[in-house]
Amino acid sequence: MNVMRFDTQQCERIRRQLDAYLSNELLVETTSDVLRHLEGCEACSRELESRTKLRDALRKAAPSQLPPERLRQTIHQNLRKTQPGFWAKLETRNWVLAVAMVTVVLCAAVLGQRWYHLQQRRRLVANILSLGVSDHLHCAIQGHHYPDVANPPEQLRKKLGPEYAGLLGVVQQKLPDFQVLEAHICSVPGSPRKYIHFITRGRGTILSVILTKRGGVSLPGGRLLLAGVSGGVPLYHARLSGMEVVGFQYKDYLGFAVSDLGRNEMLQVAEGLAPALETGLSAGSESEDLGITIFRPRALQWRESSGA
């Protein structure tokens, strides 16, 4: 070894790097610097020797701490007692898929439930609208209880009674294309419900405008169920027994416009009628007993008696 003189600062710098040199963690260039210094510096070489000796002694002494054989056996037994849980077996990436699938299933369940409720409410709307359709079919279509020539308005007002006489003008005004042939109070066999029934003719067909007291019946709310809104009155539509029916609901009454015209035509008719009828109804005073003779079609009366 060529012993050379190094200043103290250089030795201190090299000694700071000796730990990393000992652990083989120095860069190649730095290792070369250290080696060059060690070749010429006896003091630093002795220091490295001491540190290496200490490390080797520790490395030699530590393996004397061998595990007892029973430890291996205990671990072996414990591992067999403990199986990874269900969730631990799931692949991490499949967690995402599993969560996505659960989300889809939950969304489908929620949407399915909403769709089911919507269908239920649609069925309820159809059941309520069928009240108007059944009166139109029984009284106007099957019973043909209207004259070929329209009855005089005075006679119709008399049939309607003082409470509803005013509605005749409303119907005539809001259905300019139609002629009111008949207006009366009627009922359908098997039901105590009374209907204020206007039978009109126009556009080559018969159109009924029908009002009845709600009697606890209520059309369900919901944007998806509505066919439109006119003057703040929600309109409901259905096609039942070959007829187009548009229904509307007031505080105490249900109203119907029924005919075999197209859907859009019926909605136009109802848009004009619904708010006007509400005004007409609120102008008259309501009474539980209508106080007039209920019109009951002969054919229906016969059916009732024959049924009895």
Partner: protein, 188 residues
């Protein structure tokens, strides 16, 4: 499809049990007594088995097991570890007074292990990982979850402390007691 295939305990044992001696050796030098070291190693294997689905085949199983062990060790440090700490001021003084003491010519296994036990735990664990288990600095940093610079400084200080403690052990046997006087004589 959803389940990791071949989750067999035999596969886990084949990968993990060869490192039992290394784990026990480190645990033994960091825990109070052999029974605590055994408990620790058992816990490491059970935890590793439970989370084996997270282990990526082909990666360093040994480093993974050590990481689990030190995670548990630090979690239960107050219960497990001998908290013999040297006060910073005191250790600073010792550094100044006892800078680079001579390493005894003859080092017995018992002496150096006794000296290692006297080194504070945060330095002892790094000396163990670097000098006995021969982990790279990066692996040690990942295992102990500390910065690389901290690994380097603690290792340097840990080795120095070990050297001082070994000198102290040697002095307790009457070895090397004359050295300071000789040095004083030389300087005088």
């Amino acid at each position: 499809m959803f389940f990791r295939p071949n989750m067999h305990v035999e596969e886990f044992e084949a990968a993990a049990l060869p490192h039992l001696e290394d784990l026990y050796r480190t645990a033994r030098l960091l825990a109070h007594d052999p029974s605590e070291a055994e408990d620790l190693v058992q816990e490491v294997y059970l935890e590793a088995w439970k989370s084996y689905h997270r282990f990526e085949p082909g990666t360093n199983c040994r480093a993974w097991l050590f990481k689990i062990m030190f995670h548990r060790l630090h979690h239960f440090r107050r219960r497990w570890i001998k908290a013999e700490r040297i006060q910073p001021f005191e250790s600073q003084q010792q550094d100044n007074i006892m800078a680079d003491p001579e390493v005894p010519e003859e080092i017995r296994d018992g002496d150096i292990l006794q000296a290692l036990e006297r080194v504070p735990i945060e330095f002892r664990e790094i000396v163990m990982l670097a000098d006995v288990e021969e982990f790279a600095y990066k692996e040690i940093a990942a295992t102990l979850r500390i910065p690389l610079g901290t690994v380097m400084s603690r290792l340097s200080r840990g080795r120095k402390l070990l050297r001082q403690q070994l000198a102290a052990v040697a002095r307790s046997y009457g070895i090397g007691q004359e050295q300071p006087r000789q040095r004083q004589g030389e300087s005088a």
